[in-house]
Structures are given as C-alpha cells and as structure tokens.
C-alpha cells in the first residue's frame, strides 16, 4: 500500500475541502477502498475519514419515506424494521450481498460507490481503461464471464457489483450530496451513475470532494416485492444476474411494475419500455416473454457471458410469475 495523508475532519464542509483534489478519497467503511489500496489499484495521496460526521440515522421524511444517512451500515439498514416492513426488496437485496462481517462495516454511501469486480480492473499489470485510461480493455476478447450484456462500450464491459443499488433504483431512491463549496444537490441513481462510453474511469456524476450525505426513499409503494439473485454459489458471491421487482396488481391486471437489474451493466439497469409494456396487461407467460424481448433487444454477449442473455430472460419470467401469483403456462 502506498503512503497517504490521513485526515479526520469535524464537519462535512471541512471534509469536502480536504477531498477536493483528484488524489484524495473519502473513506467510510473502507472494505472496498482498502482492498483496492492493498493491490495498488487505488493509490490515493490522502484519505479523508468521514466516520466522525454523524450521518448514521434513519429518519422518517415528511413525504412518508425514509432518509438513510450515508454512514448507516448495510447490516443496520437491513435490520431496520421500517425497511423490512415497507421496503422488503431493499432488505432482501442487502441480505443477499457480501457476508455478515462486511455488511457490518460497509456503508450506504460506500456501497453505492463500490467499484467493479472485473478481474482486469483488479490486476494492475493488465490493460484496463477504467484503471488506466487508454491502456485498453483486457476483458473484451478475454475472460468475461461476469461482464456486461447491456450498455457496454468498446472501451469497457465492466458491471456494477452492488445489490443494494439495484433495489434502490427500483424504489426511485434519491441521493443527497454536498459539494466541496458547501452547496447541496439531489440525484436519482440514473443521474448518479454513468455508462462507460469512452470514459469508463468516470463512473459517477460526482465531482471531486462531493460527499454523499444520505439516500432518500420515497413513500412506500407496497405491492409484491422480490429480490432474486442468481450467482455461482448460494451465499457470499456477486450476482451474475439479479432482479429487484415491485409489482402491484389491480382487477387482475398489472397496475405497477418497477424492475431493476444487477449484473447486466455498468450501472443498475432499468428500462421504462419494459415496465410500460407490462402495465395495464393481464399477467401471462406470453407477456413476460415480450418484456424480456424488450429488455434484451440491444443485449450483446462477449463470449463467456453469452449465457447471461437466456439467464436473465428466465429469471425475469420467474420473478414476474412469482410477483403476479401466476403459474407456468
């Protein structure tokens, strides 16, 4: 691990100022950042430890939702009775991620900003446009079993590894931030994350020194909520494919369908056309098949990960059957 300057600011303003240079990083739980620093994939010159800033509360908002402090651990968030009762898809996604030890350290803000587990990104001697812009992509034409089938580019085919963020995208969560000049703003997850394009090193819209302070969940949407994660072993593995679903029926027809996907792209994926196709229709396997066709119309396998295309189709049909209480036809 390279040497670094370590700072413990007393407030968010000071934290932002200290971190407002490209070689500085905030550290919260540190489970991903320190791992990357040991491998010298991350080589920050300064760590700004934000653990003294509070940000550990889960509060009810005026709109009937929840504001989750950025430093609330994944363990505490998954155990919160309001999350379990009102946002079960989020509790399930959290519990499907990592291990008990990691969930007790990993934070809400840090989980959103965790880096891809692409093996080429993790290996400093391999080409990787995300780690070293312009060096090429080892995964294209290489070992790419875990890689993206949607939204990838000729420069990067990495996937975002979070489960939590997939559920938050389905729930229309809002990310609250404070910039290094003290101004605040709010972003949806679609605004927070970027597709790789020709700048895969830039994963989010956040500026240097911009700190995530909270994630806000809108009022509960009810319905049947499911988080289905398909992975290589039963526990403690990243998703090959995952789906966060919140589906509500009225008079035998689908009234609401919120669907977000993990393991498919550089960010938690959501496709309005898929949801619009389902709404107002009676559940059936034919309908679910059309939804999968729409989701996958631009899907592209890279060789090793070709299996993800039929896998996400089957997983989507299974999730929609379960969510609508319909049986195989």
């Amino acid at each position: 691990m390279r040497p670094f300057d370590y700072q413990r600011p007393a407030g968010a303003d000071e934290a932002g100022r200290l971190a407002a240079e490209p070689a500085a990083r905030f550290i919260a739980g540190g489970t991903n950042l320190l791992d990357l620093m040991k491998l010298e994939v991350e080589t920050p010159e300064r760590l700004v430890d934000i653990n003294g800033l509070g940000l550990r509360d889960i509060e009810e908002t005026d709109e009937g939702g929840l504001r989750i402090g950025a430093l609330v651990t994944n363990g505490d968030l998954s155990a919160d009775h309001r999350v379990r009762h009102d946002y079960p898809v989020l509790a399930r996604a959290l519990l499907a991620g990592a291990s008990g030890q990691l969930r007790n350290k990993a934070t809400t803000g840090g989980n959103l900003l965790q880096r891809t587990r692409c093996g080429y990104f993790y290996e400093p001697t391999a080409p990787c446009n995300k780690r070293e812009p312009g060096s090429g992509c080892g995964a294209i034409g290489g070992y790419n079993r875990i890689h993206a089938i949607l939204g990838a580019s000729e420069h990067c085919i990495a996937t975002h590894p979070s489960d939590m963020a997939v559920a938050m995208r389905a729930l229309d969560a809002i990310v609250e931030t404070v910039k290094s000049d003290g101004s605040t703003r709010e972003l949806t997850l679609a605004e927070l994350y970027r597709l790789p394009g020709d700048t895969p090193e830039k994963e989010t819209d956040l500026e240097a020194g911009e700190l995530i302070t909270a994630v806000r969940l809108p009022a509960p949407i009810g319905g049947t909520q499911i988080y289905r994660k398909v992975r290589d072993r039963a526990s403690y593995a990243f998703a090959l494919v995952s789906i966060a679903a919140a589906v509500r029926l009225a008079d035998g027809k689908i009234e609401t369908a919120r669907l977000a996907f993990g393991g498919l792209a550089h960010m938690p994926w959501r496709d309005e056309a898929v949801e619009n196709l389902l709404v107002g229709e009676a559940p059936s396997d034919a309908l679910f098949g059309k939804a999968a066709d729409t989701l996958l119309s631009d899907a592209k396998g890279q060789g090793d990960n070709d299996f993800k295309i039929p896998l996400v189709r089957r997983t989507l049909v299974a999730v929609l059957r379960e969510a609508t209480g319909s049986t195989q036809q």
Binding site: P3, T31, S235
Partner: protein, 169 residues
Amino acid sequence: MTTLTVNGKRHEVDADIRTSLLDALREHLALTGTKKGCDHGQCGACTVLVNGRRINSCLTLAVMHENDEITTIEGLGQPENLHPMQESFLHEDGYQCGYCTPGQIVSAVGMLGEFKDGWASHASGDLEGKLDLSDAEISERMSGNICRCSAYPNIVNAIRKASETKETA
C-alpha cells in the same frame, strides 16, 4: 500514536498510518489469536468484534478505531476459562487444522448477537416473523468464514449447540 481499546485494556500503538487493525493486533499487541488468511475480506479468519459487531479486521485501519471497544478471541476466553462457544467447538470437534477457528468462533459469537437482536438473513423465509436458527440459517449467516479443511458440519453443530446455552452471546 494510535490508542486502541482491546479486550477492555487501552494500548498506545506506534504504527504506520497504513497499519490494518489486524496487523496492529498481531504485530504490535502480540494478540496472534486473530489470524491472517486472505487479507482481503474473503475468508473471515481475521474476524473481531468492534462494539459487539463482527467485522473483518484486515479491511480496516487501526487508526479508524480509536474510540471503539475491540474484542478478539483472547478476550472471549482463555485456556483456563473458555467461552461457551470455544467449549462447544472443542466438544463438537468443529475444526481440523484450526487456522480458521478463532475467526469462526468470534464470528459465531457476533452472529448469535445479531440473531438475538432479531436480524433476519438471506435464508429467512419471513423478514418480520419469528426466526429459527436452523442449520440453513447458521450456514448462511456464517458464509463469511471459510474453512479450507471443510469442517463445516461440525462447525454448524458447535454453533447450534452453543446457541442452546444461555450465556453464549
């Protein structure tokens, strides 16, 4: 200097800022019961309790824990005064080579604390109903601890038996 409170005792540690909590415990405080396996948070051999919750001590800096209460395997029990979880691993033969065992035991104690606080798991059928500590629940909740000798059946037995004694967590 970094001040650490480990097993109820305060220590001043003169360590490089890059020192992980694991290395501070092992190399500076000679508390070598906590093991270094992968050093990347994948194996769980380095598990300690911080303010009663289990974490991987390899993936955090010592300097980040100046205000915390850290408990290691040495703080749970000693040869002449074993913790009930240690007794249970002995009685059920919950190991082969023993390298992962301190991490398994500390993790199991932390896990039972989470269970008693009503935390659900990925294996729980109902997020809000009554929880039973079935073997499937124990396996899921302990998935952050790897055993290279694959002593899992006896590890699960040891944890289940220990959970049935009152004073474990």
